[in-house]
Symmetry: C2
Subunit: 314 residues, 2 copies
């Protein structure tokens, strides 16, 4: 039997389609190999193929330093490199090359590497919010061609938006109209439950009750925090995100995915990161109704992901 479920606090619905439900292996796809690194403009040595970097993170001995490219001189030997997109969707559109290694994605980062990436996310969010024209900072990662990544070198994107997207504003309004933060309620409701995937003192990663997509994951700080810029210790955050991605990669043969940071410069908002593997197609019904048919009950998805040990080999 199909079950209609409502979002925790928004007027959004999904159909958990039990009669069509599948095993995790039914979602494993053969993926065409991504193009190789020969002409990768994000790889070390090709820095001249991109605009001058706005922030380059590198180590001098054990000390982390942050530098910028000069017009005619590119900083080399970097760990993470942030630079303007050559084809900006909006002014300020930035690429964060996450590692010099063309083949190493965040699911396989060491603790130090993933913590540094979180630091860069935080710094770049702060940097862009300092621009008065920016009302919202969209921070997201497209993994694989199917999920919209046109270049395969590991990278995150940041697009400053000159208005608050109505979808975000609607959510903020619903949060501010509630007696207490609905995300704090979600942490309480899901903690220790059957939809948990990863949980520690600071973070919870779970399959939301109202999962619109197979193997969708939400990641929430247990403490009410509005943005990554207000997280004190970024190491537990990075590990939780890395482990969630590694579980996904292991269970489903490196599926393509997007992850998005939902965060605001408003104390009412509660930071949340959503990981959406690309395993289904939003077709006519979804486009007609905004109601999503999901053939993988989140309770089953969470059990399968929970059972995968992560980190496996880091």
């Amino acid at each position: 039997m199909s079950e209609i479920r409502k979002h925790y606090f928004l007027e959004k619905y999904c159909v958990i389609a039990g009669e069509r439900s599948k095993r995790p292996t039914d979602f494993v796809k053969e993926r065409a190999p991504e193009p190789g690194p020969e002409t990768c403009s994000f790889c070390p040595g090709n820095e001249d193929l991109t605009p001058a970097a706005t922030a380059v993170y590198r180590y001098e001995g054990k000390k982390l330093v942050i530098q910028k490219d000069e017009d005619n001189k590119r900083v080399k030997d970097w760990e993470v490199r942030c630079f303007p997109n050559l084809y900006p969707a909006l002014p300020g559109h930035e690429i964060i090359a996450e590692t010099p290694d063309h083949e190493k994605h965040p699911s396989d980062f060491t603790d130090d590497e993933i913590t540094l990436l979180m630091q860069v996310y935080s710094d770049r969010t702060t940097h862009h919010l300092e621009n008065n024209d920016t009302q919202y900072v969209s921070l997201f990662r497209n993994h694989g061609r199917d999920a919209g990544a046109s270049l395969s070198h590991p990278h995150t994107q940041l697009i400053p938006v000159p208005f608050v997207p109505p979808m975000i504003m609607q959510e903020l309004t619903a949060i501010e109209e509630a007696d207490r933060c609905p995300y704090c309620d979600i942490v309480e409701r899901e903690s220790g439950g059957e939809r948990v995937i990863i949980e520690n003192d600071y973070w919870i990663v779970f399959a939301p009750y109202c999962s619109r997509l197979p193997f969708e994951m939400w990641m929430l700080p247990k403490k009410h925090v509005s943005s990554i810029t207000a997280i004190g210790d970024l190491a537990p955050m990075g590990k939780a995100l890395r482990d969630a991605l590694l579980k996904l990669k292991t269970l489903l043969n490196n599926p393509t995915y997007n992850y998005m940071f939902f965060q605001m410069d408003s104390s009412s908002y509660h930071l949340n990161i959503r990981i959406e593997p690309k395993l289904s197609i939003a077709a006519g019904f979804e486009k007609n109704t905004d109601v999503f048919i999901n053939t993988m009950p989140p309770e089953d998805a969470a059990r399968s992901l929970r059972e995968i040990d992560a980190p496996l080999k880091i």
Copy 2:
């Protein structure tokens, strides 16, 4: 330069990304062949592989008759066949096999065939609205595997929804709060303009000002009508839809697409059909903001589609 555009009357935005803009040929994709008809359960002769039909349209001589399957006897020699989906997403989920011909899609229908299909759409909408549990009838077509069609035999789907989807309700509220119907305003604004693709006395097909997707098309009756069930003469409607699909097929090498009927059993609503070719990927930014980056300005899309002669060979 990128341009941010707002929807005609809703709080929705898109970015027309001029710096990334492309020619129509850049959107042409090689498509893997769809599976052949050997085991097609929608093909004539295989009626026993589906549940008993709820409505079968066939000709007796020149007279159109509508019959139903009996439990142990399937009606043969049909033109259009409606039957319950073996794997319903929701109760009542219905398949409309549009033609006995496995290879013939609505873009290639004759005038009579497409008019009959519109008649079936109207009849089945009426039929499902008679059920008091049904608050919304979702009528849509997925064309091609990429667009969510798991079977390649030409078919439309109808899913009765036991509530009005919030997205539709929000739109209805905005319409009812306006001084006059915003869709009637859109007809007036777009008629004769640079975004028109097909226009006659009764219908207009155009690329919306706020196109979220490359080559997106909207089709509106010029007269204020809330649903297909209130259209008197269905022939001009069918021809406009068929010609729009044929232009799309011709210009872009038979792309996959979805089309959806937006209609309500409420006189305030204004029927509109949206055709969304699947030529781009909604990636992290779209999922994070609900703002769509579109690399094909609708004015250019409309010009290219307008220049294609249709019908070509019917």
